[in-house]
């Protein structure tokens, strides 16, 4: 009977579950499985078994849910003798559907100088900042102007904060935060002479770096400055964040790229990338590859995980801007030219995927619009939006960034994002470090660790006066006794420090060129 029932169950299972493609499934496995079969602890074994089955199920579910990703990415394809990089934007715009064609446009804004640009995380809104003080937010797909302000000051960089109602602007002296109507909300006076801004959306951190080469983090949820890190490498105008681990990459004049986390005073990693000053850095979405360009006329591709160089390209003129799209297209801007490279990281490419020219302009800012096949370019005479087929991720995760967000959803998203805010000290090179047990592995380190712990525990241990009977343990008496103890501690520490100082004096005496005898004479006198 029982056997039959079992058989039936199995058949049911087989019928219910469609087989999942193993290649897809592999994508969702997170690390190696636990081996628990030889464990003696039965309870633990059961627990681990259930965990493993749950995780397996999670992977299967995730693999199955790929069914919901209906959109497929595509690239521009050339036939015969045609080359993709010879297609003009005009040609592409003529061919594609009306909605997409509208995304190819130019804004001629030649009075207020080179523009820096920034898209929101859902790719819906565009922020442009002209060097001569012009600021504007645009719902660029509907061509609706949000706000337009002239700040009467130099604008060096612009950056959206977590949602489209706030943005930060690096102006002549300090960083300002405006709301979506252009009203100044804050003035961050401790960020001086800022050249570049970055916003870490999961940590609510606004990072800035400027002429003094100080990387400053400001928590935009609490408004408190988090830390200041001194790069000690002078003026810096090249900053990017690694979207995978929220580490900030700075490019310096001496050709080095430094990686920073707010919890560390020194850079996590310092790489010598170029012979000349680093001009631009771009990091791909998964945090695998980094592209750097330097004044030495080279563009290099690095593996950020191993810090090894993958490719080196030669640029005729030093590339001033780099951008990597969600699907790994690399945009290189040098002078008036823009070139898009497809799959430049793993393979040495011979020719670009696409190219474009802004006649008699220089490119100053570039960003691929998320979830769109569009590259936004801020240049000296305005803003240009280019169609780059295959640039954007076609399927968006509405929990992460929703291009079709309503106002209500935005409000909810803000609350949730604040609840899920990650503390700044959790930024490390490998975000999965948090899973690891901080076990002292080596002898030497363990000793140090123990000492530290002991010291900490000693210092932290609070003095609790003994309980005494017959009314001698009243709160007042206890307080007095505590105070007495503190004073005693102070005395002891003073004596200790005095002793040390004396010892140092003695040492200095001993090492005095005239010898100890000289001082003895002095003392006698």
């Amino acid at each position: 009977m029982a056997a039959e029932a079992k058989g039936e169950k199995e058949i049911k299972k087989v019928k219910d579950e469609e087989p999942v493609d193993k290649a897809i499934l592999q994508k969702y496995h997170r690390g190696s499985q636990n081996r628990f079969k030889n464990l003696k602890d039965k309870k633990l074994r059961g627990k681990l078994r259930s965990y493993e089955s749950q995780y397996e199920q999670a992977a299967v579910q995730a693999a199955k849910s790929e069914l919901l990703l209906t959109e497929e990415p595509g690239y521009l394809e050339a036939e015969g003798l045609e080359k993709t990089f010879k297609f003009k934007q005009r040609n592409i715009a003529d061919v594609v559907d009306v909605a997409s064609a509208k995304k190819y446009f130019d804004l001629k804004l030649d009075t207020f100088g080179p523009y820096r640009i920034n898209y929101t995380r859902n790719g819906r809104f565009l922020l442009i900042g002209g060097k001569k003080g012009h600021l504007a937010t645009i719902d660029w797909q509907n061509k609706k102007l949000g706000c337009e302000v002239h700040v009467q000051e130099t604008v060096r960089d612009v950056r959206w904060l977590h949602i489209e109602t706030m943005f930060a602007v690096a102006q002549k002296k300090c960083v300002y935060i405006y709301d979506n109507t252009g009203i100044e909300l804050h003035c961050l006076k401790n960020h001086r002479q800022v050249n570049r801004l970055e916003f870490l959306p999961y940590h609510f951190l606004l990072a800035s770096v400027g002429d003094y080469g100080i990387l400053k983090y400001q928590d935009t949820s609490t408004g408190k400055p988090v830390c200041e890190l001194f790069s000690k490498l002078g003026k810096c105008d090249c900053m990017t964040q690694n979207p995978y681990n929220a580490v900030i990459h700075l490019g310096h004049y001496n050709g080095t790229v430094t990686m920073w986390a707010p919890s560390m005073k020194d850079p996590l990693v310092k790489m010598l990338c170029h012979r000349g000053p680093v001009q631009a850095i771009a990091i791909d979405n998964k945090g695998y590859y980094m592209a750097t360009s330097g004044l030495d006329g080279q563009m290099k591709i690095w593996d950020v995980r191993t810090y090894k160089q993958l490719q080196a390209y030669y640029t005729p003129t030093p590339a001033s801007c780099l951008a990597i799209s969600q699907r790994g297209l690399l945009a290189v801007g040098h002078g008036p030219h823009i070139q898009i490279w497809r799959d430049p990281f793993t393979q040495k490419q011979k020719s670009p995927y696409m190219s474009h020219l802004f006649p008699s302009c220089t490119v100053h800012g570039m960003q691929f619009s998320p979830f769109e096949d569009v590259l936004g370019v801020g240049h000296s005479q305005g803003f240009g939006s280019l169609l780059i087929p295959g640039a954007g991720e076609p399927n968006f995760d509405a929990l992460e960034a929703n291009p079709y967000q309503t106002k209500k959803q935005r409000q909810e998203f803000e609350v949730k994002a604040l609840l899920e805010k990650i503390q700044p000290e959790l930024i490390t090179l490998n975000p999965m470090d948090i899973v690891h047990v901080n076990h002292p592995s080596k002898k030497g380190t363990r000793k140090d660790g123990q000492n530290d712990d002991d010291e900490e525990s000693n210092s932290k241990e609070k003095f609790e006066p003994k309980h005494k009977t017959k009314g001698r343990s009243s709160s007042k008496k206890q307080h007095l006794r505590k105070k007495g103890h503190e004073q005693q501690e102070k005395k002891v520490s003073e004596i200790q420090s005095n002793c040390e100082a004396a010892m140092e004096d003695v040492d200095s005496l001993l090492s005095h060129p005239l010898g100890l005898g000289y001082f003895q004479d002095l003392i006698q006198v």
Binding site: A3, N34, F36, L39, K43, L44, G46, K47, L48, S50, Y51, Y55, A58, K64, L81, K86, N254, G255, T256, S263, M264, L268, V269, K270, M271, L272, G276, L295, D296, G297, Q298, Y307, Q309, A312, Y313, Y314, P316, P336, H337, Q339, K348, K350, S351, S355, L357, P359, E400, E425, T428, D433, I434, V435, H436, V437, N438, H439, G444, L510, L514, G515
Partner: protein, 796 residues
């Protein structure tokens, strides 16, 4: 009490004895024995038996009183026995007991003696008479049962012991009672989550039958439909019948013969179909090539006939299309191009065999006829090609307009875009005999030929080679590169052979200079260490620069020598030597910096040096640009600074020796007295060897080894309880739980609370389930081997 009584009794027994002797010895003796018995009723059996023996003797002696001599002896014995009794009685404390057994012989002193079982009073003795009478049946039965069940009860146990036993029994009982809960409790404890009520209320599902029975038409439409249906003969509403009325009627009307015929017909059809299928299947499986060839030809012939007729009247276009398709197929497959195994075999023979030659030519002819139309179309292409080429040029013009990016030769990304890429192919295709290929490639070639002279061919090849250099990955070793180059250059024989000698000379010179450099550098290294780091840096800088220059020359030579490879193997030696020189040079720089760094970060920039190869002619200007850029940064000692910084950091991170020596301890100290080296050595605590740095193999990277305290605070400091080792724990924590990383259902599953209750339902107390006992896995295996059983048994 007992002892006092004993004494008294003994006295009694002792005193009257002399009196008894005087009166009648026999009677007295008997009495005494009885008394003795009474005194010690529960003595040891032995003694008692002794006494009894005496008694019997006495009894016997009563009858013959005359035997005086024997009597006296017996009397003495009796006395002895009594004495022994009294002595033993003093030692053992005994309680006197009143005898209550019935006895036949009732003595004067109301004392009875039980001699043997026969003498005991039995119930039969009392009621024996009843058996004789027929009356009192009930009473008799009762007595019977009484007699049968008569047994003496055990002495009840003392209270505490009895209670103890009671408790153990009660414990066992309750344990058994509670044990039935064990599986339930275990199951609930092991369950990942429990949702109460454990058995939720499930409303009974309405079955189709139930619905049909209870259905009552309500709305007018329903009623109408019902009315129609009720009248219809097609509706099956009759119980116990399989067919509807209509169906039954149809059956009745059908003739049996007719039905049979129809069935037969259908059977035949089906059979025929299956025969045909089998035949087709068989034909399909025939492997014989000959058969298929014959078949195909027959088919073709038939089709040709058909086509010949058709072509004239209607489907000229279709035929054309077909021909086009044939041509395409032919071109793709190269079937008649003598590429098959058979053809190759024939070609080998063709020299001698005329037939074979003919066959081959036939094949070629077929292919030509098949691709004949191609010639026309190709001629069209030829016509178009110049126009197209013009288009390309136009494009280029346009591209020129925006910044010379695509056409300018100094753009390496562009190099392969404007047709130069095809050139090597043309050169290779020159060797190819097939006329068609030449034909096709001609337009490109002509276009190119206008621009470039014959020399350009060589030049472009060189350009390509150089561009390869630029695009190559850096880690490629020099040796590999040179070989690659040589391979590439083998095709294009250059004029440079004349240069070879010069090159050789320069190589030798450079070698010498290298050697001198080497010795110098070693010296400088030593001096530098003593002098200080600053000095070292400056010196090494100079030296590195000089090496840089030499390196450049060497590399240029390298390429040249690679060219020479074609001419002879002797050049290889030079090549190798050069490599050695190179290596040495790089080694020196490393040594002079610090011992630990094994790779020079200058290696990163070596690629630029490769770019420095001076080409003759136009390419010189291209290179010049790059050189200019490099020279612009030549004075930046970025790499040296970096290396110095790294070495400083490494030194700082190394654990240091601890000097514990005290000057003046065991020796004089003071001005002018140096503490002895020996003592210092003795008292310095050597530091542990520095752990390997993460960036030890990456010369261009400094990785901060320090751990962030703020971060480590957030890590788990020790492995939590059930996990024995950290790996287990880490792996079990590897899967994120949040909705950002999982599907909705998974999140629900992963974050499900252990116990959930349904609001508004009655949660009934749990019931003990039946015990389910599982066999141990060994047993299960055995079971599997033996017979198919589930391995689960249910104990009720």
């Amino acid at each position: 009490m007992a002892s006092i009584q004993d004494e008294h009794v003994v006295e009694v027994s002792q005193n009257p004895l002399p009196v008894a002797r005087s009166r009648g010895r026999g009677l007295h003796a008997k009495m005494a024995a009885e008394i003795a018995l009474k005194i010690a009723p529960v003595r040891d059996k032995k003694e008692r038996d002794q006494v009894l023996d005496l008694e019997t003797e006495l009894n016997a002696s009563d009858e013959d009183v005359g035997n005086d001599s024997g009597d006296e002896e017996k009397h003495e014995q009796l006395l002895k026995a009594i004495k022994s009794l009294s002595s033993s009685g003093k030692k053992k404390h005994k309680t006197s007991q009143q005898r209550s057994e019935p006895n036949k012989t009732v003595s004067e002193f109301h004392l009875s003696v039980v001699k043997d079982s026969k003498q005991q009073v039995d119930l039969n003795d009392l009621i024996g008479s009843l058996n004789k009478s027929n009356e009192y049946g009930n009473l008799k039965k009762k007595l019977d049962s009484m007699q049968r069940n008569s047994g003496t009860l055990d002495v009840p146990l003392p209270k505490p012991e009895a209670q103890k036993i009671q408790r153990t029994i009660a414990y066992g009982e309750t344990k058994k009672d509670i044990d039935k809960w064990a599986p339930t409790v275990k199951k609930n404890r092991e369950a990942e989550h429990l949702s109460f009520p454990l058995k939720p209320f499930e409303p009974t599902k309405p079955t189709l039958r139930g619905l049909a029975v209870n259905f009552k038409p309500r709305t007018p439409l329903e009623q109408e439909v019902a009315a129609v249906l009720r009248g219809s003969a097609h509706v099956l509403e009759r119980s116990n019948k399989e067919l509807t009325e209509e169906e039954e009627k149809a059956l009745l009307t059908m003739d049996l013969e007719e039905a049979k015929e129809r069935r037969h017909e259908l059977q035949k059809l089906r059979a025929l179909q299956s025969y045909y299928e089998i035949k087709c299947h068989r034909m399909k499986k025939i492997k014989s090539k000959k058969y298929h060839r014959v078949k195909r030809k027959a088919e073709k012939r038939a089709a040709g006939k058909m086509a010949g007729e058709d072509l004239q009247n209607e489907d000229a276009e279709e035929a054309l299309e077909k021909a086009e398709r044939m041509r395409a197929l032919e071109r793709v497959s190269l079937k008649h191009r003598n590429t098959s195994k058979w053809a190759k075999h024939l070609i080998a023979k063709a020299g001698k065999n005329a037939d074979a030659k003919k066959l081959i030519q036939d094949q070629l002819r077929i292919s030509r006829t098949l691709t004949e139309k191609a010639v026309e179309s190709e001629s069209d292409e030829e016509m178009e090609a110049p126009a197209h080429a013009g288009g390309v040029e136009d494009d280029e013009d346009k591209s020129d307009m925006y910044g010379n990016l695509l056409t300018s030769e100094d753009n390496p990304w562009k190099l392969h875009t404007n047709g130069t890429r095809h050139l090597p192919e043309t050169s290779s295709s020159l060797e190819n005999d097939s006329s068609t290929k030449l034909h096709r490639l001609q337009p490109i070639r002509t276009e190119e030929a206008k621009e470039n002279s014959d020399e350009d061919l060589e030049h472009t090849a060189a350009v390509e080679e150089e561009s390869d250099d630029e695009f190559e990955l850096q880690p490629v070793s020099l040796a590999e590169k040179t070989t690659k180059k040589s391979k590439k250059l083998q095709g294009t024989k250059t004029k440079r052979k004349s240069d070879v000698e010069e090159v050789e000379v320069t190589v030798k010179k450079s070698k010498k200079s290298e050697k001198s450099n080497k010795t110098d550098s070693k010296k400088t290294a030593k001096e530098g260490k003593k002098a200080g780091k600053k000095k070292l840096a400056s010196k090494s800088k100079d030296k590195v620069e000089s090496l840089h220059v030499t390196g450049d020359t060497i590399e240029t030579e390298n390429t040249d020598s690679a060219n020479m490879d074609i001419s002879g193997s002797s050049d290889n030696k030079i090549n190798r030597k050069e490599h050695n020189v190179e290596r040495e040079a790089s080694n020196e720089t490393v040594i002079s910096k610090s011992k630990d760094i094994c790779v020079d970060p200058k290696k990163i920039f070596r690629i630029e040096d490769h770019g420095n190869e001076v080409q003759d002619g136009e390419s010189y200007s291209i290179q010049q640009k790059r050189i200019d850029i490099q020279q612009a940064f030549a004075n930046d000692d970025v790499a040296e600074e970096f290396v110095q910084e790294k070495s400083e950091i490494e030194d700082a991170s190394k654990p240091k020796d601890l000097d514990l020596s005290l000057p003046g301890w065991g020796a004089w100290a003071g001005a002018g007295i140096k503490p002895s080296e020996k003592k210092k050595k003795q008292f310095t605590k050597k530091a542990d060897p520095a752990p390997l740095r993460k960036d030890k193999d990456l010369s261009h990277v400094i990785i901060n080894e320090e751990k962030s305290k703020l971060f480590t605070k957030n890590q788990v400091s020790s492995v939590p309880y059930p996990y024995g080792n950290p790996v287990l724990f880490e792996r079990s924590m590897r899967n994120p739980v949040g909705k950002h990383w999982n599907t909705g259902t998974t999140v629900d599953q992963l974050t499900k609370p252990r116990v959930s209750t349904l609001i508004g339902t009655i949660i009934e107390p749990i019931k003990a389930t039946k015990q389910i006992k599982r066999y141990k896995p060994e047993n299960r295996k055995r079971n599997k081997k033996g017979k198919e059983s589930s391995g689960i048994t249910i104990h009720s």
